[in-house]
């Protein structure tokens, strides 16, 4: 193989996705880490490195991740790191770490309780602190502005957006953990009021509390522990400049860069799990990834069915892995994003076999 087939996913766990959890982040992580190591057929003691993704502003407390270390079983002390990013990037750091060649098994995780405060107030704080945050310029408003740019360019219609919502929430019924699923009539959806025009309620992701953990291992260990390791054959992420007013919102250049760097062109992608939290982002990302009509998008329901901030991206990669392990697929993709109007994008390509 021309690319990297030396690190594989060997287990994972996704928590129930709920509107209001009664658990702390540490408790949610305790559960998904136990689930993931059990899935991989190992114990916490065998884990050489852990990396967590979470966010103080989601938690409402400085150094919130320090308590989460209680979940990993860090005694004796563990090699461990934390990113203030989605768990998908925690997986990226774990993947880099295993390439140091000295250790075999890592666990990446992501967790967030986005129910604890108003997302409109929280996410405006990640914008330019001089020009955007003081306007309360929130992520939903930016998403709506990007949706309008796509509508104006004829790249999507409001009907297509509603169809994305109906399809993903219907498909989301296949997952017990999902939060918002069901059968929705597209005409009825289109008859509802705008929440932030041109976005209606169905175009928005739910507010979700949840967590996800994933076990990865180097080749020899992966084969030893697992009959069908799921190989990470490409993994890359890119950023764009920050201010959406200075970007072409009709494309997602960083997604294309990440997909190419991850080797997307080396074969067909059967299933793509993408972090299209807002419905219009799906066609935009599908185009930026260069995917054709043969690729199934978000059969898990995607972020429309459950959107645990700081874990949504890692859940996408877990779902992409599940398509290979449980559904007989050969090559799938997980995607994550961060920032206003898809500022940062990450692509993880997975393959079965070998």
């Amino acid at each position: 193989m021309a690319h990297d087939n030396d690190i594989a996913i060997i287990g994972w766990n996704i928590s129930p996705m709920v509107r209001n959890t009664e658990h702390t982040e540490a408790q949610m992580l305790l559960e998904v880490i136990t689930g993931a190591v059990t899935d991989a057929g190992i114990t916490r003691k065998e884990v050489d490195f852990t990396c967590a993704g979470s966010c103080d502003y989601v938690a409402g407390q400085a150094f919130s991740f320090v308590q989460n270390i209680d979940a990993i079983g860090a005694w004796p002390p563990k090699r461990d790191s934390h990113v203030e990013m989605d768990g998908a990037w925690a997986l990226y750091e774990a993947w880099l770490r295993l390439q140091m060649d000295d250790i075999d098994i890592a666990v990446a995780m992501g967790s967030g309780r986005s129910s604890t405060a108003d997302p409109e107030l929280i996410y405006s704080m990640e914008m330019d602190p001089y020009y955007l945050a003081p306007l309360g310029a929130d992520a939903m408003s930016f998403a709506a502005i990007q949706a309008r740019a796509l509508l104006d360019a004829g790249k999507v219609t409001e009907r297509q957006m509603a169809e994305v919502a109906a399809r993903t929430r219907r498909d989301g019924k296949s997952r017990d953990y999902n939060q918002v699923t069901g059968d929705f009539d597209v005409d009825a959806l289109l008859a509802t009021d705008y929440v932030r025009a041109p976005l209606r309620r169905h175009d928005l992701p739910p507010i979700t509390d949840g967590a996800c953990a994933m076990v990865i291992a180097r080749a020899d260990k992966a084969r030893e522990l697992c009959e069908n390791p799921i190989w990470i054959t490409g993994f890359a992420h890119y950023s764009e400049l920050h201010n959406p007013g200075m970007r072409d919102l009709r494309s997602s250049n960083s997604t294309t860069l990440a997909a190419k760097a991850a080797g997307i062109e080396e074969g067909p992608i059967e299933v793509a799990e993408i972090q299209s939290a807002f419905t219009h982002e799906e066609p935009l990302l599908v185009e930026a990834l260069g995917l054709g009509p043969d690729t199934v998008i978000n059969p898990s329901g995607g972020p429309q069915a459950a959107n645990p901030i700081m874990a949504t991206g890692l859940v996408r990669i877990a779902e992409a892995a599940g398509q290979i392990r449980d559904n007989g697929k050969h090559r799938t993709l997980g995607h994550s994003t961060s920032g206003p109007c898809l500022q940062q994008n990450l692509v993880c390509i997975l393959e079965g076999g070998k």
Partner: protein, 323 residues
């Protein structure tokens, strides 16, 4: 669910602007919108660097607008407290005449029906301007800016305030709730791990060593008496919200017959000079329903510890019991 604890965090920040943001904010006080040249482009709002390359830009400023064109927009039907207007408005990317990038701001259009991509807008300025992005009150439809008499800031603007208030509603876990209820009865609840036998307080809900959940079946009542193993005397420093004015002690208390050490506890009625290792102390609880302004490090209704008057514990290793 078991309930939530609400905490409002108000963040009073003071930002220094540096040369480029400062010049832009100063121009706002003069009812001007300014961009910065980068090669053949004009970047608005101005940055110190070219956003595509990171290259430092010379301070070659240029006025843009006053009118501009809406490139994209959304309608905010229900504004938040952080939004610039308190009635329905549009957020829009406005490409000002002479600019090559768009400025995000509010358009006070009255109705969503008045909004369209490509529409022309002009700034409406605030009467009182301080060098802040909201000196530009909003854009309004049309070509004509709404300006006020009077000049700009007397001194160049160098700083801006940023206040954001977010209220968090943190769920109370089942363990926490039972711990709080015990505390209201003046009981000290611990959770004992069945694997390592370590005991944890405060409804922690798990053992960090064995990484297992601890629940009701692992609860134990802890003793109310203990010994001071370590301490510090803190001289208060000023900060927003500081209520302490005089030096105060915080002590580590090892509860009798257990492995539980409570850190940074409040010691009541003991002058700072008399605080010492080995002192015997006993827990003091608020009576049911009593509201006390206490250190948040204290668990539940625990107000602090009082000396028992018993003879000191003279074990020289006490000082090392920090956890």
């Amino acid at each position: 669910m078991a309930g939530t604890v609400e905490s409002t965090i108000k963040f009073p920040y003071k930002r220094s602007l540096g040369p480029v943001l400062g010049a832009f904010m100063t121009a706002l006080t003069e009812q001007r919108i300014m961009g910065i040249r980068s090669g053949g482009r004009v970047i608005v709002p101005p940055l110190e660097w070219d956003p595509d390359t990171g290259v430092e830009l010379a301070h070659d400023f240029v006025d843009v607008g006053p009118a501009g064109t809406v490139e994209s927009w959304t309608w905010v039907a229900k504004p938040t407290a952080q939004h610039p207007l308190d009635h329905p408005f549009a957020f829009a990317l406005v490409k000002l005449d002479g600019a090559d990038t768009a400025l995000m701001h509010a358009v006070d259009a009255g109705s969503i029906d008045a909004m369209s991509t490509g529409m022309r807008v002009a700034p409406r300025w605030k009467a009182e301007r301080k060098g802040h992005i909201t000196d530009l009150d909003a854009f309004v439809p049309g070509e004509t800016p709404e300006t006020h008499e009077g000049g700009g800031a007397e001194e160049p603007v160098t700083m801006m305030d940023y206040d954001a208030t977010i209220t968090y509603r943190i769920p109370t876990t089942a363990n926490q709730l039972r711990s709080d209820q015990a505390s209201e009865q003046g009981r000290f609840l611990g959770l004992k791990c069945p694997i390592c036998n370590r005991t944890y307080t405060g409804g922690r809900g798990y053992c960090p060593i064995d990484a297992i959940e601890l629940g009701e079946e692992h609860e134990v009542d802890l003793p109310q008496k203990g010994v001071i193993t370590n301490y510090t005397i803190i001289t208060p420093t000023p900060y927003p919200g500081q209520t302490a004015t005089e030096p105060f002690s915080r002590v580590h208390v090892w509860l009798d017959g257990t492995d539980v050490v409570l850190g940074y506890q409040t010691l009541l009625d003991v002058p700072n000079d008399d605080v010492h290792i080995g002192m015997r102390v006993e827990a003091v609880w608020a009576s049911e329903g009593e509201k006390v302004d206490k250190d948040p490090r204290m668990e539940g209704n625990l107000i602090g510890f009082l000396p028992t008057g018993e003879p000191d514990n003279t074990d020289p290793d006490l000082v090392n019991r920090l956890h």
